[in-house]
């Protein structure tokens, strides 16, 4: 083990181990209740199946969203619009795959190139992110308000684009994005892993990561030392929009249809919860790995509830409990009380 790491632990490293332990605890709970939760099987078609894979597969969307959300959150912002942006991107993809849906026509034949079906919705998602970023960084509207506006607008845009219908497009190549497999694992898992790895590389192998943290921690000081604070802030919202667009494509591909109302509904809250559970500071140090584990914690709670055939509401309660625990751990006041209590117990024992 690297001795330096232990002597001088980055607070986030400690935090990350803690979050990882949390995920392990949830899985352990399942192991105790029903060991068959962990059954994983390799099927003849070369696909690996099982609850653990389901957690990764179903959690992929929140993972992708959480990566973008982490950077926004680190600049001292928040993005409530990601769920709606998912729907907009999904609606755009539907329009390209089945332009004649409202006239009752089947999917376009031949299909436009897959890359184009992906690129256009992603560009739109980035544009919506840019609007968020401009409202926050240039117009100085509070992030929660600016992105609330976008949450309504992008949802409305998605509904208008498909005129409130739910276009379906089973069997087209695009659906592989959500349903396909590669090396035994579902494609969404690979996509989420790629988003995570690329973002880690880009933020840690360039100075972007430390610039984001600096801007989030002390915007004024960052400006004084020549960091382009507005550009950095806007950049995180554009990137968050891109992640939302990608998560939207993965989602609608998996459904083989675009429901403008249901796509990404309320998912922004899961993404924000993942970031908080992961340990990223609001305005300051961020950890992408923490956010991923946070997203997996949320997903494994849902999967557990589903697998144990408990009512869906249980998963809401579990999420609340996890967030309360995290908030309590983060509370300096509580830690001070705990330290006091511990000291008094020790002194009593000494006597």
């Amino acid at each position: 083990m690297d001795g330096k790491l232990l002597q001088n632990p980055n607070p986030l490293t400690k935090r990350f181990l803690f979050v990882l332990a949390g995920l392990a605890a949830i899985l352990l709970l399942n192991l105790i209740i029903s060991p068959e939760f962990f059954q994983v099987s390799l099927h003849e078609d070369g696909k690996i199946r099982g609850n653990l894979i389901n957690i990764l597969n179903n959690g992929a969307r929140v993972c992708i969203l959480a990566v973008g959300m982490t950077l926004v959150y680190a600049t001292g912002g928040i993005d409530l619009s990601v769920g709606s942006v998912m729907a907009t991107a999904g609606a755009m993809a539907a329009l390209m795959i089945r332009p004649g849906y409202l006239q009752g026509l089947p999917v376009a034949n031949p299909q436009p190139p897959l890359l184009l079906i992906m690129a256009v919705p992603l560009l739109i998602a980035m544009l919506l992110g840019l609007i968020n970023g401009a409202l926050v960084a240039l117009v100085r509207i509070q992030p929660i308000i600016a992105t609330l506006i976008m949450m309504y607008s992008a949802r409305g845009l998605a509904v208008l684009m498909v005129e409130g219908q739910t276009p379906t497009y089973h069997g087209v190549p695009f659906t592989k994005l959500g349903l396909g497999y590669f090396l035994g694992l579902p494609l969404p898992v690979w996509i989420a892993a790629a988003v995570f790895l690329i973002t880690v590389l880009v933020t840690k192998r360039t100075a972007l990561g430390v610039f984001i943290e600096a801007v989030g921690e002390n915007r004024k000081a960052s400006r004084y030392m020549g960091i382009r604070t507005r550009l950095i802030t806007m950049g995180t919202y554009v990137f968050c929009g891109l992640c939302a667009g990608l998560a939207g494509l993965v989602h609608v591909a998996g459904e083989s249809s675009t429901s403008p109302y249901n796509t990404g509904n309320m998912i922004e809250l899961d993404a924000i919860a993942a970031v908080i559970i992961g340990g990223t500071m609001w305005g300051g140090r961020f950890t992408l790995a923490g956010s991923i584990v946070g997203a997996l914690i949320i997903q494994s709670l849902s999967t557990t509830v589903y697998f144990q055939r408990w009512p869906y509401e249980y998963s809401l309660v579990f999420k609340a409990v996890v967030l309360i625990v995290v908030a309590l751990i983060q509370s300096e006041k509580l830690r001070a009380y705990a330290a006091q209590g511990w000291a008094s117990i020790k002194s009593r024992r000494a006597r």
């Binding site: 001088n8 360039t206 100075a207 943290e213 004084y224 020549g226 500071m281 140090r285």
Partner: protein, 500 residues
């Protein structure tokens, strides 16, 4: 003269600082008293102890002949001591009348606020100050000066015998100041006593009867304004007598730089910020800015560094006319700026010492030309050694360092970025004596290496010691420039004292 407020032997300490030690303070009935002192002199602490905001450690306070022990600002207000702070402490969205009566609204018998009564009483209250305003309009529809007056009206209506005005004029223009003074004179003629805190020398001479000066938490002087020379007041504030001035002038070895000016500012100014001024800085020289607190030193630095945009005048860098609209632009022109307020605009508390040191250099290079970890460590270690920064390692979070060491980290940040012009705004504040001398020596070394420096400090001996030229400021105006053998503390003080 009858004493209304008398403080004797007052002491107050905070962890690590003795803010007031054995301070005496007397305020007579119906007088205007100026309370003066530089940063850290203890003015605010004295006011806060007198008005019950802090509890004193020792000493006595007598008010109106009675020994008092106020337990809260409200308690002091009830007894008749009201304070109007620099920042207007009212609720901008409420009406003038509501602001005057908030917390003590006249009520109807059957409950509910008696608005008619409230508004008519408010009209009376503002009329007493010769203020002709509509009390039913929101406060923020009026100028800061009027808001200031409304605070005073509120204080008076609560039955003030003593009114403390904490830098009330800092955001007022000349006409508004005169309006305030008229009100103050009138209150004085009605027997109300006023404590007037300000940094403006002209104003304190214009309005006060007496002046009390604090320095480093102790009494430094009590004067009758009439017949007092500015020189005596300034030397009392700065704690310097002509005789004991230190003559050592390292800066004289620098000469006044070489060649063409790197920076030249011609009648650059900004309304309500600083009056137009001329300045030049050449490579290899240290231009010192001297003046009392609030005289406009930092404002010059902010205009030069692009933090604030001037609304007149011409800035030339290297002979090229340039308009800077952001620090980023200034940095691209080769500038660096160690700000006075290290918490607000200096450190990034949760980042490590290493990251704090390399950030400006990294920003200059751009995000994509990443300084690798090894190189970062080399740079950080070099400056930790060179500036004697006390930290267990370069990975320590900067928030865990002492103030002086944080200051050195910011200095290291800019040295690492290798600027051509370095602006140092109070680089030695809060630093121990040993480090102070180290930084002063460093300033000279940098100048000898050909750097141009703009050096701002409240400590005159430092300015005198390190500068090759000194620009002197007073009341947001550059009033003179000294060079060569003219640079001495006494000469600077004389320049500040000269009446306009």
């Amino acid at each position: 003269m009858e004493e209304i407020l008398k403080v004797s032997n007052l002491s107050k300490g905070f962890p690590g600082v003795q803010a007031l030690s054995n301070v005496d303070f007397t305020l007579n009935r119906g007088e205007i008293l100026g309370l003066m002192g530089e940063n850290g002199a203890g003015k605010s602490t004295l006011i806060k102890v007198m008005t019950g905001f802090y509890r004193r450690d020792s000493g006595d306070i007598h008010f109106d002949g009675q020994a008092v022990d106020f337990t809260s600002p409200n308690d002091a207000v009830r007894h008749g001591i009201s304070t109007v702070y620099q920042e207007v402490n009212l609720l901008p969205q409420l009406t003038v009348a509501e602001n005057i009566f908030i917390g003590r609204q006249p009520m109807k018998k059957r409950g509910g606020i008696d608005w008619r009564e409230l508004n008519s009483r408010a009209e009376n209250a503002v009329a007493k100050l010769d203020l002709d305003i509509d009390v039913t309009r929101p406060l923020n529809t009026y100028s800061v000066a009027v808001q200031q007056m409304v605070s005073i009206a509120r204080a008076l209506d609560i039955s003030a015998k003593v009114l403390i005005l904490d830098e009330p004029t800092s955001s007022l223009d000349a006409a508004e100041v005169e309006q305030l003074f008229t009100v103050m004179r009138r209150l004085k003629s009605e027997g109300i006593s006023i404590v007037f805190i300000t940094h403006f020398l002209d104003q304190v001479f214009a309005i006060t009867d007496r002046i009390t000066v604090l320095r480093s938490g102790k009494n430094a002087g009590e004067f009758t304004t009439e017949g007092l020379s500015r020189m005596d007041l300034i030397s009392s504030m700065l704690g310097k007598e002509f005789e004991d001035l230190d003559a050592s002038r390292w800066g004289s070895s620098l000469g006044t730089g070489e060649g063409d000016p790197l920076v030249s500012m011609n009648s650059v100014g900004k309304k309500g910020f600083i009056f137009p001024f001329d300045l030049t800085i050449r490579p290899g020289e240290v231009l010192g800015l001297a003046g009392l607190l609030g005289s406009g030193r930092t404002e010059i630095a902010q205009l030069l560094y692009g933090v604030e945009k001037p609304d007149e005048g011409v800035l030339q860098l290297n002979g090229q006319e340039t308009a800077l609209s952001s620090p980023r632009g200034a940095i691209d022109e080769g500038m660096g700026f160690c700000p006075e307020d290290r918490k607000e605009v200096g450190i990034i508390p949760e980042l490590s010492v290493r990251e704090n040191i390399i950030l400006a250099l990294q920003a200059k290079r751009g995000a994509l030309r990443y300084i690798h970890r090894k190189e970062q460590e080399a740079i950080a270690d070099k400056f930790i050694r060179a500036l004697n920064i006390v930290t267990p390692s370069s990975d320590q979070l900067v928030k865990n360092l002492s103030g002086g060491n944080q200051q050195k980290v910011i200095l290291a940040r800019w040295l690492a970025a290798e600027p051509r012009l370095l602006i140092l705004d109070e680089p030695t504040r809060g630093i121990d004596i040993g480090s102070k001398v180290e930084i002063q020596k460093l300033i000279l070394e940098l100048a000898k290496e050909g750097l141009a420096l703009l050096f701002i400090s409240s400590e005159l001996d430092e300015v005198v010691r390190c500068s090759s030229r000194v620009a002197v400021l007073r009341d947001r105006q550059v009033i003179g420039e000294l060079d060569g053998t003219d640079i001495s503390e006494s000469q600077i003080m004389k320049t500040i004292a000269e009446t306009a």
